[in-house]
């Protein structure tokens, strides 16, 4: 080579090491002090899983970069160069696998716990809500006293008549359906909510960050998920799947009120 390349411990190495150290310190601090939006539903297992991953990946992130710093800054010692070592390789492979399997088992346990509703026979029946997404609004309805959603038919959709979901008013089960104003969902605090999610047109996604809830509204199928709001308040609903030019303004509001106030607030909202 026609020039002497910079070496470990030289000026360039120290500069690169400094920049790396600065980045690692800043990013570790930023992540360690970062937060999710305040939790407002019974899905805190997601928060714990994130915290667990933060610790584990933090250790690996720091460890790998400290190794890089040491490599850059220390003068190399010929006698201590690692040689091919199958045993050591098996050891770190096994360790990696064990940690990952532990995370997997935890993930599976969390998913099952989060998916299931309450199994307590004495608990109140869940609040069933149908959410129908469209370009660019959210439609909500409750089944009413009979607990049955009235029939809908895409051919009955009439935006001028404000029948956004195509409700068949001739169906007796539709009579007591409670149709909320577009974009506003009112729920009672502390009661399980079972959502049936549909879409009229393209793929949307129901995302309320404080509830730790996200599910795609997939045209052609109705998917279900369940959660229990644990805090009263107003929580913004975002669409989390690109759905057209109005994707950014598909904002909804989920209003959680104390149980005792729910019926009254519903009535007020529907008026």
């Amino acid at each position: 080579m026609s020039f002497e390349a910079p070496k470990n411990g030289g000026a360039l190495a120290r500069l690169f090491a400094f920049l790396t150290a600065a980045f690692v310190a800043w990013s570790a601090y930023a992540l360690a002090t970062s937060s999710l939006p305040p939790l407002a539903a019974n899905r805190g297992r997601i928060d714990s899983a994130i915290a667990l991953n933060l610790v584990i990946s933090g250790i690996v992130f720091l460890g790998a970069h400290v190794a890089l710093l040491l490599v850059l800054l220390r003068r190399p010692r010929e006698a201590r160069i690692p040689h091919e070592n199958a045993r050591v390789e098996m050891l770190w492979t096994a360790l990696t696998a064990i940690v990952l399997v532990a995370l997997l088992v935890n993930s599976e346990l969390d998913s099952r716990a989060l998916a299931g509703g309450s199994t307590d026979p004495g608990a109140e029946p869940p609040v069933v809500v149908e959410v129908v997404a469209q370009q660019f609004a959210w439609n909500f309805r409750l089944p009413g006293e009979d607990g049955i959603f009235g029939r809908t038919d895409p051919r009955l959709v009439d935006q001028a008549e404000l029948n956004f979901i195509g409700l068949d008013r001739k169906d007796p089960a539709a009579e007591d359906d409670i149709i909320l104003p577009q974009g506003l969902l009112v729920l009672p605090e502390g009661r399980e909510v079972r959502v049936r999610l549909r879409s009229l047109d393209v793929i949307h996604s129901f995302f309320v960050a404080p509830f730790r809830v996200k599910r795609d509204a997939m045209p052609g199928i109705a998917t279900e998920f369940t959660f229990t709001p644990t805090l009263s308040g107003r929580f913004e609903l975002a669409c989390a799947e690109h759905c057209g030019l109005g994707h950014y303004r598909m904002r909804g509001m989920v209003e959680v009120v104390p149980k005792a106030d729910w019926a009254a607030r519903l009535k007020e909202a529907v008026q």
Binding site: S34, S35, A67, L68, L100, L103, G220
Partner: protein
């Protein structure tokens, strides 16, 4: 190809050449041009996220179709992120790493005179060039280029009224992708045939540089995975024009009007797309993994630690990459059992990836380093692979993905591990093989400055996106501050945009270095890096094949 070397004109030597070296450089130069387009699109996206209600008078005069009195149109924003992703993934990174470096180096590294099928090789390049032109042409259609995301999910991409850009623009996107895939299929065939059948006698597979191994696996991945997207694209074209409903379910109502057809499934597209899409990101990752391992060997003077394990790790990563695609679909409403299965495969693919990281550390430990520019880029890839790989583990767990899917966290993840590592691989490869391509060395000072600035600004741009995602910033959103809970992220988003601008400006150093060094770089000897691999045993710049 005509016989002797004396009287061949410019066209057959430099334009329609069958020489793998010319073809490789053609891919590289075209990719560099497409990178300028892709990078500009990214800056426009960032400009909008940082300042959504701002009137961009100057830019709107240059691009009047995208703006209304200085305010960017939402459909233009959708086209920007769609085309940025599409162009960068396929037309820049795949083209540069695989079309560019793969073509130039594979025959040299295996000791062959050229690729197995030189005519097919030239054809691959020209088809890629045509596909790039078609993709760029889509910008000039009346309703604009495709705007349904690089992922082109139907029904948004299938129904012409669903978004502007789902008209001719989407058709041209599909045609360009089909052509691109054809180009890469032909290339993949060439790579495999050359590596398997044209190795110099006595050269075993386990003697090959890890870059060659990477190309071997990339070729297999491409051949097996791309057909899925080809089929899906044809089905989407049929849905759009022939009245079929592969992806259009029954009973849709778009803007109050019933949609014709039905019986199809949008999730089917997602399965077909991601069956390619996931191996594709490993196609982008593997070349940089190979380059890093090889450069660690060259610039420490000893072979990479655990060469055989590195090969097996690449093989495992490649094989398992076919089994993880559903992790893009955890919240799509697919069966939770499938979700669990994909979580298993996705998390376990981190095992061979981890092996590579540990072997890299061992390859550097107590060894004397030559911190040349290519080596710096390789060390940068090491860092990006660790950082980006770790966030991938988060996303591979189904319960965590519920919160982070389709947020800026995902954007951070893939830009760090895929785009970043692939991009750094391009820079590493250009600096490293420049003397082979052109007989000169690139300027080291400029190279070092470019590396340090890019390293800093790359992380400054993408690392904060993890935080934005954790706080719930959704992707592909023209104006995040429609949501009150995202308003506090305004200053972070502005910071990210300024970092991106600084990152873009830093790339000027690379272009200056590249073009200046073509003429004025220090002449390099035949093996300026004292590397042990076969490509350096040719005289440089390489003579043409007779």
């Amino acid at each position: 190809m005509s016989g002797g070397g004396e009287s061949r004109g410019i066209l057959s030597r430099y334009v329609f050449s069958l020489d793998h070296r010319v073809i490789g450089l053609q891919y590289l130069m075209t990719a560099m041009g497409m990178a300028l387009v892709g990078g500009l699109l990214a800056l426009l996206v960032r400009m909008q996220i940082a300042w959504p209600s701002h009137e961009f008078r100057a830019v709107s005069r240059l691009l009047p179709q995208g703006f209304d009195e200085g305010i960017m149109k939402p459909e233009f924003y959708a086209a920007l992120f769609t085309m940025h992703g599409t162009i960068m993934i396929f037309f820049v990174l795949s083209a540069a790493l695989i079309g560019g470096f793969g073509n130039y180096l594979i025959p040299l590294q295996v000791g062959a005179r050229d690729m197995a099928f030189p005519r097919l090789n030239a054809l691959s390049y020209w088809i890629y060039l045509v596909s790039s032109v078609v993709m760029l042409a889509s910008f000039f259609t009346p309703s604009g280029p495709a705007a349904s995301g690089w992922t082109a999910y139907p029904p948004l991409s299938a129904l012409k009224g669903a978004i502007a850009g789902s008209n001719l623009g989407q058709d041209l996107w599909l045609v360009a992708m089909a052509l691109f895939i054809l180009s890469f299929t032909l290339g993949g065939l060439n790579f495999l045939a050359t590596i398997v059948a044209l190795r110099r006698p006595g050269l075993l597979m386990m003697d090959l540089p890890l870059f060659t191994w990477a190309m071997f696996f990339v070729a297999i991945l491409g051949l097996l995975a791309f057909p899925s997207l080809t089929a899906a694209s044809i089905m989407l074209l049929l849905d759009r024009h022939a009245g079929t409903s592969f992806f259009i379910p029954t009973g849709l109502v778009l803007s109050g009007e019933a949609v014709q057809g039905g019986g199809g499934s949008p999730i089917l597209w997602q399965h077909l797309f991601w069956f390619l899409g996931h191996p594709e990101v490993y196609i982008l990752m593997l070349p940089s993994l190979g380059i890093t391992s090889d450069l660690f060997g060259v610039f420490t003077g000893r072979r990479v630690f655990g060469y055989a394990s590195m090969v097996y790790a690449m093989a495992l990563i490649s094989g398992m990459s076919f089994l993880v695609w559903g992790h893009h679909m955890f919240v799509s409403g697919m069966s939770p059992f499938l979700g669990s299965a994909f979580a298993v495969t996705t998390t376990l693919i981190a095992v061979p990836s981890g092996v590579k990281v540990f072997n890299w550390i061992a390859s550097l430990w107590n060894r004397p380093l030559r911190l040349t520019t290519p080596m710096l880029w390789a060390l940068g890839i090491f860092s990006l692979f660790v950082t980006g790989g770790l966030s991938g583990i988060w996303l591979g767990q189904t319960q965590i993905d519920i919160q982070l899917h389709d947020t800026a966290f995902v954007v951070a993840h893939f830009h760090i591990i895929m785009a970043g590592a692939a991009l750094f691989g391009v820079f590493a490869g250009v600096h490293y093989w420049f003397p082979l391509f052109f007989g000169r060395l690139m300027n080291e000072r400029l190279g070092i400055a470019h590396f340090l600035l890019t390293f800093v600004f790359y992380y400054a741009t993408f690392f904060p996106m993890h935080l934005a995602g954790l706080q719930g910033q959704v992707r592909r959103v023209y104006d995040p501050y429609q949501y009150d809970y995202l308003k506090p992220l305004a200053s972070m988003n502005a910071f990210i945009t300024w970092a991106a601008v600084a990152l873009a400006i830093s790339q000027i150093l690379f272009f200056v270095n590249f073009f200046w060094s073509l003429k004025k770089g220090n002449p390099a000897g035949p093996n300026p890096w004292t590397a042990p691999t076969l490509e350096w045993s040719e005289p440089a710049p390489a003579e043409e094949n007779a």
